[in-house]
Subunit: 273 residues, 5 copies
């Protein structure tokens, strides 16, 4: 169900290759390895994340980051096809006929919606429960993004703090202006680490989590509309028309009416179940 998000993976590998090659073209890589600077920048940033969120959220940082590298294989078109088929069946055989089909659904959100409908929950309550869940999921996603936005804001701050510390110590030890150059170089390495952590790791991950979340919330809203339409006993044609607005023009071609599908595609429909 999970597959690698190639864009994040390739992007991350490539950005490090680009910067390291760029560094090698300009000179030695050696000055960029400085453990005390690493310690201040990464340690300080991690501590400030720990202070900012609950211990549980902090411990899940890597798990959240992992979400940016893996993606659920969600095919909205297929989900819509399923909803339209359900609407068709519900009109012909009644809502209770969906009971068994619901058990075979892979999408737990759609499954929950269908079960609520089958259980005879009121329309208002179904909407209420599903929308509260979407709000909750969206809030949890926002916390995940916020963690990486905090890293993206704190890493440069600790990078500059480290450079400030290095500068102050260096400036006081100096006797000759010729030593300013190398001393400043060492001090600047913490700023470099802060910039790398923010721009090459944290901010793109925060962006990807945001992009992903928007898509997921949008899909869930389509499912809510669909479930409510099934409950209302809408014509499958109407359900399909309604849900197609949630698709891009390209994706719309894949959405088929149950009847047509049976005639025109035959076995293909079996796959999409």
């Amino acid at each position: 169900m999970l597959k690698v998000d190639l864009a994040t993976l390739i992007g991350t590998v490539a950005v490090f290759i680009v910067v390291i090659v760029g560094m090698a073209l300009g000179g030695s890589l050696k000055p960029f390895w400085d453990p005390p600077s690493l310690f201040i920048t990464f340690g300080g940033t991690l501590c400030s994340v720990m202070m900012s969120y609950s211990m549980q959220t902090f411990l899940e940082t890597f798990k959240i980051a992992k979400q940016a590298f893996f993606t659920k294989e969600e095919d909205v078109g297929e989900t819509i096809n399923t909803i339209v088929r359900f609407a068709d069946k519900a009109r012909r055989e009644g809502l209770l006929a969906l009971d068994e089909d619901a058990n075979n659904l892979k999408d737990p959100f759609l499954q929950k919606g269908i079960r609520l409908v089958v259980d005879g929950t009121t329309q208002e309550l179904v909407r209420n429960i599903l929308e509260t869940e979407v709000t909750f999921v969206s809030d949890r996603h926002k916390t995940g993004q916020a963690v990486f936005e905090t890293i993206g804001a704190m890493a440069p701050a600790f990078g500059m703090l480290g450079t400030l510390i290095g500068l102050i110590q260096m400036l006081l030890k100096l006797n000759k202006p010729d030593e300013i150059g190398p001393g400043m170089a060492v001090a600047l390495v913490t700023t470099f680490y802060g910039s790398v952590l923010a721009n090459m790791v944290a901010l793109p991950i925060a962006n990807k989590l945001k992009t992903r979340s928007q898509r997921e919330v949008f899909t869930k809203e389509a499912v809510i509309e669909g479930v409510l339409s099934i409950q209302a006993g809408d014509n499958p044609r109407v359900v399909q028309e309604k849900l197609k607005s949630f698709l891009s023009p390209k994706e719309r071609e894949k959405v088929v009416m149950p009847g047509k599908a049976k005639e025109a595609q035959g076995g293909a429909q079996a796959d999409s179940r």
Copy 2:
């Protein structure tokens, strides 16, 4: 249907001429050509965009940029004239009479609205479907803008990262203060590239996409109001009055009532179909 957006095209060509002429006035252009700096700034920015969005969005970056240079020739006044004519016809001959006219429409959004109305879809559902579509279009536009805003934010960040790398390497190699100048010059070229990519390309494109999207959404909202008015069987005069609020005072002069148009303009009305 697409024509070149002269403002974007002339602006882009002119801004590069301005900066290159400005550079030539101040001295040689040669120091501004530095492949390793180009590699870090452009490569790093591209990778971080890849990390931030889906692979599909990333691959469409150039296609999205193209949208800023081409514009759909949308004449809101003409669209409103068409809607008013349809409202007139629908009142005289019934909604079904619009079936054939809908097929000749160039604007797919208006066409979809008219077809829904002709098919006898309920008022609420027509609004629901059309508004979901506007939300979807607007969301897609926002992703496009976000890509170029990310480029506009990441290009200076990688520019400064490159300068930081250059500075650190240069400061460590130095023996004489006299070499600080030329060394810093080379390091600053990456900052220059980052600023060029952000301010002369990415941010203006993001701005243009935003301006364009606002206009398109506004027009689509006028179409929704118009379609719902046709369905409600409103007086064409009322429809016209309602839609004219979506026009600037200048554009309003072009909107004509069907009856008046026939008398006063004759052949001109045929053109506007």
Copy 3:
């Protein structure tokens, strides 16, 4: 109907006097005149505005700026007096009696509202049409502000780009550290231009356009409330009480009831028509 906005005019003249006097107190004005720097900063900023907006908006830049220097002489108190008088007349003589008075109105928005009411448009449609118009006007104002906010953001960016170019070229040509000072001075002039254009021209104009727009939208909302009250046949006293909430305590003193006005002010009321 238009009069000079003294605050903008005096402010603009004064800020240039302040800065030029401040410059003259510190030394020569001569180094601040540098055509290539002017060319990069102003040319680059103009081009990026052209790229960001439609050609039509770009060509109206100066026209929009002019709006910050001139103001419509809008007296909200007088507008409210007129609405209360109309409410009084409508209750005594019927809505149709307002037909002729509407033609003499100077404020086109109030005129449009009264005409819609006289024409027998439904309450909901009147609100719909007038509010769409307010939204449209507000959107157009926002575009105007956005143009000057873009100038305010782009001018410092091109100023720094010019300084970067100057610095790189200067640093490479140097042989002696003594030349760093004058060379850097020349490079900094572009930053100076960018700061002048942003802080002394563009941002204050954007601010003024925003202040102006908020006031205008607020007034139009009062007019909408008033027109709908007239249509609903509200008691003129109630209309007055409702609209007085849109005034500051000072302005409220100028609002008078039609009856009282006739008795207490006589001829003065004739003027306010």
Copy 4:
């Protein structure tokens, strides 16, 4: 009715003492007195405020600043006690019985609400009028805050502009690197003024005005709820319960039921009238 806001007053005096003492500890205060720098920073900032707002708002700048140093002695608990007492009286003696009491009220907003209720205005209109007034008051407050936020943004901008001017003039006059230090010191004084004006005066005042406004709007919303409850003839107990949600747990202890008050406090209730 107005009393000094000790937090603002003490804070302002103390921050200047802190900074001046800090300066004296580090060396001479003399270099920080530089009339041309003062002229550019303060003059430029004032002019840009004049350009940004209406002449009337500009002239009220000091009056608005004064509001941050004085506070209305508003006791929300007492206001709520009054409303509960009114609700009690209205239920026993009818709404008209409040006519006389309304005249003795110190809070003009509550007075206006009670009068509207006594005059028999409809529920919807009372809410409409009072909420429009709250919106208007809140908008006026926002303009006041905006003026000081503009000062807080413009002062550093003009400070840096002055430093830029000083730097350019100084760099061109130099012959020896030894003169860079003192020359830069003079140029930096404008940046110092800009920072003082923004961080020690304008931004804290803007913050205080914002804090004050939020509190006032919140109190006015409690009054609206109370007035509408009186009009609806709600049980005084219910009114009290409703309004207590607007108080912090500490303040709630001061709120008493009319009946209980008479028994338990006697004369104390007379004071609170």
Copy 5:
């Protein structure tokens, strides 16, 4: 009821250890102890907070900070179990049967809600009172966050002001360029203090307060939904289904139906009372 928030505590201790160790690795800690710099940065920041908020809020600064280090042991799952049990009891024995149970509740918000319901308050008023209270609590939390965000913004500003003062005084006293280094080091210490106060104390505390507040408001909203469901006499199953949407998938497992609990867990249910 209060327990230490380990994330904040460990994070705070660790971030200081990290930075001090990082400083010790780079050289002496001595130059970072400079009382006049401390005085300007901390004193200036405190004064500006005093100016920005009411005296009462200012005096509570430490109390607010303490909230970031301690947490209420709120178990949403348990609260939901309680609500479901109440819904069950209310259906079987009537709303009045909850009177006694309400007295034993630890959560004052849920207690207030149940009491309002037992007292026979109307549905609309219960929602009104509870939501006003949530708004009030959320507003108070926002003030707390705002105080630490102000510290986080003002500390670097006063840090830079102190550095500016130090630089100006140092630059004027200099005779030899060799002294620039040590002089600048001393001046930079205030910037260091500002950065420490903002990034290692104020901003993480503001973040934590925000995270905590969002969670608390979310829980209170679940309580409101639950209380209204009890009042409406909803089926306990429905109440449970509704409230489970407020939980993460992990937390949902702990929620049990009253009937099942009695059978399956026996004594465990007694604990959760």
